[in-house]
Symmetry: C2
Subunit: 522 residues, 2 copies
């Protein structure tokens, strides 16, 4: 960036690179709309006001110009897309910044996985920044691909593009002072530290906050949100693919606290990104629910930039990055043209960039499964007539425990579709331990066949649910053969797959194909 030239353009002594005229400029600092021109040079906003000369002049004809939206918290991996393809979904929506926790890749490939994400982020026209994942593995009850201890987190915190400590999920570890958890917080002293504290309130919440954890995106109830705001947390209001908290939490936002509130998506699928949007969808829904459009935009731009200390992002002001988007309807905001660093990067909902696919063998061959046969999936009957069953609760992350008497065939417990009892198998896939967990689950309502996935939070082993071992075996082998992904089988027949060869989490295909395949698989 040539600051001297930027200054010359700002002074009006040299023509701008790009000049927006006749626009209504969204001012996120003051919650106002200004009728003014915006001059851009050197990838930055040079100035607002009385400018006339530029290499390119764009007449907005009364349309709006807003600063690029910033998603305060997401997991890119949850989209099944690489960072490059995620950006192709986000950018056309006007989303030009996002703070990602690379928790899933870190669980599979540790800090090398995080590097993969950082490298992808450098290839796209958006400010995709990362937090150092704090809870890898998330549990010691399962085998993960990697472990991140405090010294590795410290290393990651030193990397360009990493701005703080990612959601501290281990809230009991914080509250009860687990030394390795406190060590991770210690290396992040003075950096932004995101929280994750579903349902944590009262003295437990006080304790959780003592290390100055700054935010929470797991709030689902009004009173919980109010308490968290009062205790100094930034309230990240989440509206993801499955977790939808906006309608509950928006009524909390008022004149006194809105500057402490921001919007996030956490987990959104490629399909939802394509059809509904990224954090722009949250802004639209908030407006539909009665939020003032300017305030909704503040919560998706400036507030996020201020919390994460992102200098030069979150507003349209001199010196700020020329990240902005044009739209026509303030009540139903859809980005028409999107500019990153003053360059047109998306138009009419389509990305104008397409980074090449990265074929890096170390991230494409992460399936390390000890050989097994179909017989190894058998679940031997026990002395007890009953057996524990995991019951899925619709739209919840938590499950319930049931105890049922399952059918036993040839000394092995099997499923029973009439009672929606299905077999659930977890095959360790990182360290070839040969560990295979077997159990029963209720809630999938499959009538036949099996579903397999290597996107299996948080350790991402192979998880298969099915009505019979033949289908289960075939599904597991199918996702092994694609180096990870999703598969649907019926007996030996593979009905469909979505290969996710990038660490068993992400596709090598473009956004549009992934969305199409996902729809088919559904």
């Amino acid at each position: 960036m040539d600051l001297e030239r930027l200054l010359a353009v700002a002074r009006g002594d040299q023509p701008a690179d790009l000049l927006f005229v006749n626009g209504q400029v969204i001012n996120t600092f003051t919650a106002e709309i200004e009728q003014t021109s915006v001059a851009i040079a050197e990838g930055r906003i040079a100035g607002l006001g009385d400018y006339h000369e530029a290499d390119q002049i764009i007449d907005l004809q009364g349309r709006y110009l807003a600063p690029g939206l910033i998603d305060g918290h997401l997991h890119v991996e949850s989209t099944y897309l690489t960072p490059e393809e995620y950006a192709r979904a986000a950018v056309p929506r006007g989303v030009l910044g996002a703070i990602a926790d690379p928790h899933e890749v870190a669980n599979v490939r540790g800090i090398a996985g995080i590097q993969y994400m950082l490298e992808g982020a450098r290839r796209v026209p958006m400010d995709l920044r990362f937090m150092a994942s704090s809870c890898v593995p998330a549990t010691h009850l399962e085998t993960s691909g990697a472990d991140l201890e405090a010294h590795e987190i410290q290393q990651v915190l030193g990397w360009e593009g990493v701005i703080g400590l990612a959601e501290m999920m281990n809230f009991p570890g914080v509250i009860y002072g687990d030394p390795s958890t406190l060590a991770k917080l210690e290396v992040a002293a003075g950096r932004v530290k995101d929280g994750h504290a579903p349902g944590v309130t009262g003295k437990q919440l006080n304790a959780y906050l003592c290390p100055l954890i700054g935010s929470d995106h797991e709030t689902t109830a009004h009173d919980e949100g109010r308490e968290k705001l009062r205790r100094g947390m930034r309230l990240m209001i989440r509206e993801g693919s499955s977790e939808k908290n906006l309608a509950e939490l928006l009524p909390l936002v008022n004149d006194g606290n809105y500057h402490r509130c921001l919007f996030v998506v956490d987990d959104r699928s490629a399909l939802d990104l394509l059809n509904d949007g990224e954090v722009d969808a949250v802004v639209r829904k908030a407006i539909t629910l009665g939020c003032d459009p300017l305030r909704a935009l503040q919560m998706a731009t400036l507030n996020t930039a201020v919390y994460f200390q992102l200098e030069g992002l979150g507003g349209i002001a001199p010196g700020y990055r020329a990240n902005c988007f044009v739209f026509a309807d303030l009540q139903n905001m859809h980005a028409n043209e999107v500019y990153y660093g003053g360059k047109l990067v998306a138009q009419g909902g389509k990305a104008l960039f397409q980074p090449s696919v990265r074929h890096t063998p170390q991230f494409l061959t992460t399936m390390n499964v000890r050989p097994y046969t179909r017989e190894d999936l058998s679940l031997p009957a026990t002395a007890s007539p009953t057996f524990p069953v995991i019951e899925v609760v619709p739209h919840q992350i938590l499950t319930r425990r049931l105890d049922e008497a399952p059918p036993v065939v040839d000394g092995a417990i099997v499923g029973d579709v009439s009672r929606d009892l299905l077999k659930l198998v977890v095959i360790e896939r990182h360290k070839a331990t040969g560990n295979i967990g077997k159990g029963l689950v209720r809630g999938f309502q499959l009538q036949r066949g099996a579903l397999a996935t290597t996107v299996a939070h948080d350790s991402h082993n192979i998880v298969v649910v099915g009505v019979d071992d033949r289908s289960i075996y075939a599904a597991a082998r199918a996702v092994e053969s694609t180096e990870g992904g999703l598969a649907v089988t019926d007996g030996d027949t593979v009905l469909g797959t979505l290969p996710l060869p990038v660490m068993g989490l992400m596709s090598l295909e473009p956004l549009e194909s992934v969305a199409e395949e996902l729809a088919k698989l559904d």
Copy 2:
């Protein structure tokens, strides 16, 4: 700080060090008042809520508890007090944080002078942080004691307690891209950079902001303030000893922008500190002018902490520093008891601490004047019958130029009290250059005698105004003999002095004595 113990207190498993009960707790995050207990341990807030056990329990009997106030911008030297004595004035007011620009000491003693201030700050119970002075010297038309170039600023920015770049006064240098000015901004990239841009608007303001200068405290007019807020600056509303901008700027503050506004004092004399207060006086006046008390408190606490990225300051929340004060009347807020890190440090307006005086020779012997005689102060008559006169404009920092025909006696220009024409002399005192500037001034209305000072912005040479050379010479010699300070003379008679031997700027005496001597001198 023992985090494990803090957690135990927060959980309610161990008694707190200190517990406030029956208080009304000012919540600066949400602009609310909470009736709740506040538990303190390890110098931090452990939690708010249902706590009962503590080594010391204080029943607030319905009084208020607020987080320590933070002054967003001041020059400690302007109080004539050392940092230690400044703190003795500020802390009893509930002011437990301040961001100081050590511009005056830097002009006299460079980075060593800044170290002197940092060292003083470490000796007092308040969070007195510093910005690296950006404009030393402020002008090349006068000889200063030191020069700070970019590499020295970089060095200062690396010191603990230095949090950013101080007010960039050289706005023409920024706007027109002076390389040494840009170099100073460059070394502060990514750090908070304060501005100083009186009357700068439009394209000039846009240019000034291009290097991401973040604030302005020099705004005096409503429209100017509105424009600066719109362009992304934090608006520091100043209410100093002479510059009073609150009444003009407060009407600007609204629901959409208040989180971008903060209160500062900039320059306040020891007398005003003692009689009126520090930033607490600004809060009181804002409330008198109609500002909601909770909002006024946000502008003097949280907003300042957020702008300067002061982790754990600006609110009463778990993990935050236990810096707080108790007061009885929300409409007329006067601190009763003040706690810093959970320790009582002031009560009833009196500091409970008194650091020893630092006698450091290098800072107490800064007068380096080349010998001169009274005759050297003579101003030779010129060929022209008129001579330029500096006219002081009451309550303004700017002066006007006049041209008058002064009396000439024995070939020398002299003053004329009937026309309020006085002699003005500047004696260089840093490098013994022997430079003596001589001229005429109007506006002091002295009838006899002279006034001398070594507090002479920004280079702090000896400045003397007087009706005759005898008085002027005596006054200059008087401040030399005290190693700096103020003096009033009448002929050879010294009527009074305020010695300021610390770099010629600050007294070694306690606050109360300085205030008393100042009143006498006035």
